[in-house]
């Protein structure tokens, strides 16, 4: 880590900028937090002051209540953090409002990707590649077996399963923030106009997306539907509700799960999934390695995920210094 800038360092609870007393995605309450996006492993409640995009602040308000003090920052805008350090928020293509953070100090440029993907997503702005000296990247799917198929292929499977079982419903487990809305929006983009039914835990997040200009078409709550209303329908619930008692109100649900982990068959089989949908909002192996090649940083730091393979790849592919943080 010869050329690592001394003005920021990885800590157990997030990335810390000592000169400014700012943290990026801290997992404990801090005085000043820069938050890349609304997922709970990045956005926590209880910070003194939060700097994030508008949608991310809305999501945090929904989950943790209104932040006592916040700076709303738009994509492309720069904020001075002090100690000569500037932060610019750029789209990460992960979920609504998700951002990469470009940090600049005395000519050195560091990009913190947060979670990101490079594929098109109708619910959020696309990832914007930015040249940098140090790239701090995620590696959730940092193994070469993870190559996500095109989403269209997976949605075709979903629609075929639905058509095959007009008396049943297809119950799709999907994260309440991002995945659920992306699936709905992608279905709409393919001309699917039937009402999609939601578990109660999805309702407010879907409304938030619509309020931020992401139309989701006709939605209804399972709680307001009869058993017959739900036959031949798509129902979306959080993954934890897939085999919950809640499912007993559904007509013989076919269990589907939308996740990048579904690439590995045993992962689905162990959970009793009948229809695995390999749909991920994270970069796959090709996106992770392709982004490093494209941005050509002098150094790559890997934060959360499966780092061993990516670190090895960096050395083996003669890419720049790569380390786990």
């Amino acid at each position: 880590m010869s050329s690592a800038p001394g003005w920021l360092r990885p800590e157990r609870h997030g990335i810390y900028l000592p000169g400014t007393d700012c943290w990026i995605d801290p997992s404990i309450p801090v005085a000043r937090a820069l938050v890349t996006h609304g997922h709970s492993d990045h956005a926590r409640g209880g910070h003194g002051h939060v700097i994030a995009t508008g949608p991310t602040l809305s999501i945090m308000a929904l989950r943790y209540g209104e932040q006592p003090s916040a700076d709303r920052i738009d994509y492309g805008d720069t904020i001075e953090l002090g100690d000569g350090t500037n932060a610019t928020f750029l789209p990460a293509g992960h979920v609504l409002g998700s951002a990469q953070i470009l940090l600049e100090r005395q000519g050195e440029r560091v990009v913190v990707t947060g979670d990101y993907k490079r594929r098109p997503d109708p619910t959020c702005a696309p990832f914007e590649p930015v040249a940098c000296d140090v790239l701090i990247t995620e590696a959730t799917f940092g193994l070469p077996v993870f190559v996500h198929p095109p989403i269209g292929q997976e949605l075709d499977k979903l629609l075929a399963a639905l058509a095959e079982r007009p008396d049943r419903c297809v119950l799709v487990g999907a994260y309440a923030l991002g995945k659920a809305q992306r699936i709905i929006a992608e279905l709409r983009a393919r001309g699917f106009s039937d009402t999609i039914y939601l578990h109660g835990a999805m309702e407010r997040m879907c409304a938030l997306y619509e309020a931020h200009g992401v139309p989701l078409g006709p939605l209804a709550l399972v709680a307001d539907a009869t058993l017959d209303d739900l036959r031949g329908r798509i129902v979306i619930c959080p993954p934890s509700a897939l085999s919950d008692r809640w499912t007993r109100r559904l007509p013989d649900p076919l269990q589907a799960f939308a996740s990048g982990w579904m690439r590995v068959r045993q992962r689905g089989v162990q959970r009793g999934i009948e229809l695995p949908l390999v749909i991920s909002d994270h970069a796959d192996w090709e996106e992770l390695t392709g982004t490093i090649v494209e941005l050509a940083p002098q150094e790559t730091w890997i934060t959360h995920g499966r780092e061993d393979a990516l670190v090895h790849w960096c050395g083996w592919s003669a890419s720049p210094n790569c380390s786990i943080v």
Binding site: V145, V147, S243, R245, R265, R306, A309, W316
Partner: protein, 526 residues
């Protein structure tokens, strides 16, 4: 190959037997020859391609993938074929994906010197799911729980045939089963000739429920506690088949070697011992010989096997199945004389004067390690499957034990939101003396729908720990478990395994400390 890959994938995620049958049936109906025949063979017995060794896949991948990246991936995925199918960096060949039969042909023609290049080229022509199917096909290890019986049932369903009819024609035919499909798809087409000296579908018995039978019409035999087998000999080769129609000759070479005749016989495979009439051992002893592909001389000496014969289906080239049981029995008694008595004997007819005698015999069955009694209508032909009114089985009373519920797992399909699979245990010593619970069995039936709801609610209210789909339960609920027998098992920490365990009663009235001890169960080992 894509259609086959899709079938394979869906079978992996399907737990219900009926759904599996429907998937295979649809595939067989919609896929042209000879692909469907090869697929059928691959799904059941597995095809053998000698050039493809267990290590071949890893070696082929190593020609394109960094070894550390491969091994990290293999560790995560857990399956070599799946890892290889996902990690394979495809070089476009411009060739279309191979059909199943083309792939089979290419793989059958591979030699040790060409296998690496040819397998790589096949992989290049396929997407990940197709590569997975190809590699599973190449290594002959499908492991998707598809028995031959299930495949034949699917075949029958696909073409509107009776499964017993399919069983009749199936054996003796070779992949890709062209004759079989030709017959199934054109109703007027000639059925493939039935080889008289091939496997015949078993005649099965119904459980006897309360009714008394007329002993003038029914012959009575012991229900032996071994495994039902069929012996098929053509004078040169003798094969042994299990009830599911799987060949098990390799496990009992001494039996096959002692059967030089041209005949098909039905009987019970047992090992020598001193119960079951003083000549056979318990099922527990037979367990030592089951599930092994190769046997050692020591095993054959320690657990000498023999067959207790009870029916003769084919003699020379004559099919006897349409004859009444009395006639088959008379011919069986004559035929046994040609066989060495240390390997073959007759299942004797029990001469009972009245029903009360049989009730008494059944009561005593357990002490002699018999499984119960069999009733065979004297006038009945030998009919495939379980036809009402001809054969009955009257099993001995089950054993019971009071066990404590320890873990529960969610079921599948309609039961996926219910905790319906239960693991229960007994005490290593009285709990007040520091005894602990060790699992002694698992059951997922025996209870009513009402009881299932109650158990599900209990488990959710008394969860101590969660491990994925499994919950550890507070050890307070006693279940009365019924089981047919119990035997020693090295696979379980308690050293015990139950046969046919089911939940007989929920004993919420009984304190867990009063459940049975492991030693109580040990005393029941037969």
């Amino acid at each position: 190959m894509e259609r086959f890959a899709q079938l394979l994938d869906r079978l992996i995620y399907t737990r219900s037997r009926n759904d599996k049958i429907a998937l295979v049936a649809a595939y067989l109906r919609d896929t042209p020859d000879p692909d469907r025949g090869w697929a059928l063979a691959a799904l059941t017995s597995g095809l053998d391609f000698p050039a493809v060794k267990a290590s071949t896949i890893r070696d082929v991948v190593a020609t394109r993938v960094d070894p550390l990246l491969y091994s990290l991936s293999r560790d995560f995925v857990g399956d070599t074929a799946e890892t290889a199918s996902l990690i394979w960096p495809r070089l476009p060949t411009g060739e279309p994906p191979p059909t199943v039969s083309e792939a089979v042909e290419i793989m059958a023609g591979m030699s040790r010197s060409t296998v690496m290049a040819q397998l790589a080229r096949l992989l290049d022509r396929l997407e990940p799911d197709g590569r997975f199917a190809l590699l599973k096909l190449a290594t002959g290890a499908m492991r998707i729980g598809l028995s031959g019986r299930l495949a034949r049932t699917a075949f029958a369903q696909a073409f509107g045939l009776d499964v017993e009819q399919v069983e009749e024609h199936w054996h003796g035919l070779r992949p890709p089963y062209a004759d079989l499909f030709a017959w199934a798809t054109s109703p007027e087409g000639a059925a493939p000739a039935i080889d008289p000296l091939a496997f015949k579908p078993f005649m099965l018995a119904h459980p006897l429920e309360e009714a008394q039978l007329d002993l003038a019409e029914f012959a009575v035999e012991w229900k032996w506690d071994g495994i039902r087998i069929q012996l098929v000999g053509d004078g040169n080769v003798t094969r042994l088949f299990s009830r599911g129609g799987e060949e098990i000759s390799g496990a009992f070479p001494e039996i096959a070697a002692a059967y030089p005749i041209r005949a098909v016989m039905d009987g019970e495979l047992l090992v020598r011992g001193d119960v079951q009439g003083g000549e056979a051992a318990s099922f527990n002893a037979l367990q030592q010989r089951l599930g092994r592909k190769k046997v050692t001389g020591a095993m054959m000496a320690d657990y000498p096997a023999f067959v207790r014969l009870y029916d003769l289906l084919v003699e020379e080239d004559e099919d006897l199945r349409s004859l009444p049981w009395t006639e088959r029995r008379a011919r069986l008694e004559r035929a046994v004389a040609q066989l060495p008595p240390e390997r073959f004997d007759l299942s004797q007819i029990i001469a009972a004067q009245d029903w009360a005698t049989l009730v008494q015999l059944r009561e005593d069955a357990r002490s002699q390690a018999y499984e119960g009694l069999m009733f065979k209508r004297r006038e009945s032909a030998y009919m495939a499957g379980r036809k009402v009114g001809h054969w009955y089985k009257w099993k001995r009373q089950p054993l019971t034990a009071d066990c404590v519920l320890m873990y529960a797992q969610r079921g599948s399909g309609k039961r996926s939101s219910y905790y319906s699979d239960y693991t229960f245990g007994c005490w290593t010593a009285p709990p007040e003396q520091g005894g602990e619970l060790l699992p002694v069995g698992k059951a997922y039936f025996g209870f009513t729908d009402e009881e299932l709801k109650w158990l599900d609610g209990f488990i959710r209210r008394h969860t101590a720990n969660r491990f994925g789909p499994v919950r550890e339960v507070e050890k307070t609920l006693v279940l009365e478990v019924a089981f047919d027998s119990i035997h020693l098992s090295r696979r379980h920490k308690s050293g015990l395994a139950m046969r046919f365990p089911r939940i007989a009663r929920i004993r919420s009235d009984k304190p867990a400390e009063e459940a049975n001890l492991i030693v109580d169960l040990m005393a029941l080992v037969s």
